[in-house]
């Protein structure tokens, strides 16, 4: 133990010395990458170590070093890492305009607008996605999307088959379904709102199902009041689910994993999550072939998942190797790497462009790709202004713990929105 620590520190010392004297020499570059999440898991480590090896083979003398993330922008971990100056050269983290704005406003990351056109990144992501990014920060772009989210209902195929249940087309049908599930002694929906994002997954689904994608988009842009009668329905419905016992009040204290455990053990019938949930399911030894995915039933137009940019690459303003970091992003965006990732069993997301001839590694991912093919609505967590997100998450806890009515919750959000303008 001690020996290996000594050896490690000796190596670190040598690496440091090499960094000191050899920064100009191309053969001694060390690219420190923040991420990916759960790199210590064998399956994920195998995939990324493979990508790393290929990149190192292509760029002689370069080593890539993964730093397991200690958190996200939401809890300040990314900011702290950048500020530490010992920090990463390139970052892969949970994104969305709100989170990215936080680090942009603190001048912690580089603008990448020019790189988009110079390196052809603009051609390598969906056109609508590029447009959206251009519209977010007055034309300047600071992130390269790595993956998209698509949030919808996960259910157990065997349980639904056994009882003859189906995800219906209308909200009232959905409420009836929950009543039936509850009558069987099963919790209809599990949710873990203590994990910030997780609170927003179900809530965002419900807002869109009640008010439609367009209204949610307007509310996020500040063009429609959250307290507008056309917006509050989703929040009011969530409180109704709580009052009727379809969502257990004590879930207000659960985190994502505490709630997911209820679903994996089939004590709960449904769970709102995205493709990344496959990783949780695998860790919990849940049989992924038994998982089904559907969009939340909507009364306004076609039912579709919510989502948006889930993960992005950022380059810290104090990156020691910005050029190399961009090369790494080039590499990640290449067909070869993207297809390899998308077909890997560790794959847990939608990719930022259409991939020709893709074979989804699991049936459930294939289902999610299919449901999301018609487009993805807004997950407010990633679109809300940074100063509003925290309130947004807290009021969802407020509804689920039956402290706030739907109207009160929306009034809280609206007050923060007004402040943000």
């Amino acid at each position: 133990m001690l020996k290996s620590r000594l050896a490690a520190s000796a190596m670190a010392l040598m690496a440091g010395a090499a960094g000191l004297f050899g920064t100009t020499a191309a053969h001694a570059q060390n690219l420190v990458m923040w991420g990916p999440e759960q790199i210590t898991e064998p399956l994920i480590a195998e995939l990324w170590n493979g990508i790393k090896a290929d990149f190192e083979a292509e760029n002689s003398g370069v080593t890539v070093e993964f730093t397991p993330p200690t958190g996200t922008i939401s809890n300040g971990a990314v900011q702290a890492a950048i500020q530490s100056n010992a920090g990463p050269d390139v970052i892969l983290t949970n994104s969305g305009v709100a989170r990215v704005s936080t680090v942009v406003d603190a001048e912690l990351v580089m603008p990448l607008t020019e790189a988009y056109t110079e390196r052809g990144w603009d051609e390598q992501i969906y056109p609508w996605l590029y447009e959206e990014l251009q519209g977010q920060r007055g034309g300047e772009i600071y992130e390269v999307p790595d993956g998209l989210d698509a949030l919808g209902i996960w259910y157990h195929k065997d349980m639904f088959e056994e009882h003859g249940w189906e995800i219906p087309d209308t909200w009232s049908g959905f409420v009836d379904l929950m009543a039936e599930i509850k009558a069987e002694g099963i919790m209809p929906i599990a949710i873990g709102p203590r994990t910030a994002g997780s609170a927003g997954h179900l809530f965002g689904n419900m807002l869109q199902a009640a008010s439609g994608q367009e209204a949610v988009g307007k509310a996020l842009a500040g063009e429609l009041a959250w307290t507008d009668p056309s917006m509050v329905t989703g929040a009011v419905r969530l409180r109704e689910l709580v009052d009727q016992g379809y969502i257990d009040k004590s879930m207000a204290a659960l985190d994502l994993d505490g709630a997911a455990r209820l679903w994996f053990n089939k004590r709960a019938a449904m769970f709102v999550a995205g493709p990344w949930f496959t990783a949780n399911a695998r860790n919990a030894d849940y049989d992924l072939d038994n998982a089904g995915f559907a969009a939340m039933p909507s009364d306004t137009g076609e039912a579709m998942p919510t989502g948006g940019v889930g993960w992005s690459w950022l380059i810290p303003a104090n990156s020691k190797h910005p050029e190399l970091a961009m090369k790494w992003i080039d590499f990640v965006l290449s067909d070869e790497v993207m297809k390899r990732r998308a077909e890997d069993p560790a794959s847990t997301m939608l990719y930022p462009r259409e991939i020709e001839g893709l074979e989804p590694p699991t049936a459930i991912l294939g289902e999610i790709f299919e449901v999301a093919a018609g487009g993805v609505g807004y997950n407010p967590s990633v679109y809300l202004p940074a100063s509003v997100v925290d309130t947004y998450f807290q009021v969802i806890q407020g509804i689920i713990s039956a402290q706030l009515t739907g109207e009160e919750a929306m009034a809280e959000i609206e007050a923060k929105m007004a402040e943000a303008e």
């Binding site: 300040g76 702290a80 004590s250 806890q397 713990s401």
Partner: protein, 317 residues
């Protein structure tokens, strides 16, 4: 003691007394500051850089619009103070903090006292119980948070599942989701960790009480309650002062269990000043408002200390 020994000592003493020049009176010739400085310097340097300077800078920050560690901060007068008065969560967190401190004092201090009195009556098993009851104090509060979050889990936790198994199913609660219960529940976890130290201190205090006092009281026919009221508690008064101040300060510093178990939720119901400072400073990057809260926390700590010491002084006067 041998005769020779005594003689030698006497002789030495006498010799010394004669050889020694007359002692200087105490009040004269204070040492120059130069002789104290080198001894003070290491402590002063560390303390000035890492404590005093940050205290001063906190004041400055509270008058700026600093929005992050790398951004430039502009002077904005009392804006942050005005914003603070308008933020209902700040006031709520103040009340929660006060409640939190009281819970800690009663739960951890009270349990420590009761167990100390019980344990100090034991002979053969005293060390065993003292050692066993101190074990929770060795667990870091953050780790306590991880443990108790699992104990309180409404569906899989030790507490609810055990209640169900022993037929008390209707006693199960959403320990961390019920708005009225959550702060108390988290405090129980903190106090579980905290009471052991107070217990040890009380035991030490009890050992300093003269046993003959009890014997005399017994001869006078005093019962257990009288002995507790008239001998034990008064005899503990000094330790009590120390433990109460310690518990107050520890209570005010409460952070880790809340941070780990609830993050301040649900809907700010367990938000303390400390967790709200963290939220504002590190997640919302609103350093100006966070600095106001920092000053509030300091004032809170100072005034609790002063009020308590005043009260104590009046009690003993």
């Amino acid at each position: 003691m041998s005769l020779a020994g005594t003689t030698t000592k006497d002789a030495d003493g006498t010799a010394a007394r004669i050889a020694r020049p007359p002692r200087q009176p105490r009040s004269s010739s204070p040492d120059r500051i130069g002789s104290a400085l080198p001894l003070m310097l290491p402590a002063l340097a560390v303390y000035a850089v890492f404590t005093l300077a940050p205290i001063a800078m906190t004041f400055w920050l509270s008058f700026t619009d600093s929005g992050g560690f790398n951004t430039t901060a502009n002077f904005v007068g009392v804006d942050n103070y005005v914003r603070a008065t308008q933020d209902p969560i700040i006031w709520q967190s103040l009340v929660r903090t006060l409640l939190w401190v009281i819970y800690h004092l009663v739960l951890a201090g009270g349990l420590g006292l009761v167990l100390a009195i019980a344990i100090s009556r034991l002979r053969t098993t005293q060390v065993f119980f003292r050692t066993a009851f101190f074990l929770p104090h060795l667990v870091s509060l953050a780790v306590v948070g991880v443990i108790w979050a699992n104990i309180y889990d409404p569906f899989y936790g030790l507490l609810n599942t055990a209640l169900e198994r022993i037929g008390l199913g209707n006693w199960t609660q959403g320990w961390l989701s019920d708005p009225l219960l959550v702060l108390f529940s988290v405090n129980v976890a903190s106090s579980w960790q905290g009471f052991g130290l107070y217990m040890l201190l009380f035991i030490a205090g009890l050992q300093n009480i003269d046993p003959s006092l009890y014997e005399a009281a017994e001869i006078d026919g005093a019962n257990e309650w009288h002995k507790l009221r008239d001998i034990t508690l008064p005899g503990l008064s000094e330790v009590m002062t120390f433990v109460v101040s310690l518990a107050l300060i520890n209570g005010l510093k409460g952070f880790a269990t809340v941070f780990v178990m609830t993050g301040g939720g649900p809907f700010y119901q367990s938000e303390l000043i400390t967790t709200y400072i963290y939220r504002l400073a590190f997640s919302a990057q609103d350093h100006g408002l966070a600095a106001v809260l920092c000053i509030l926390l300091s004032l809170f700590a100072i005034s609790i200390t002063i009020v308590f010491n005043r009260w104590r002084a009046r009690q003993s006067a």
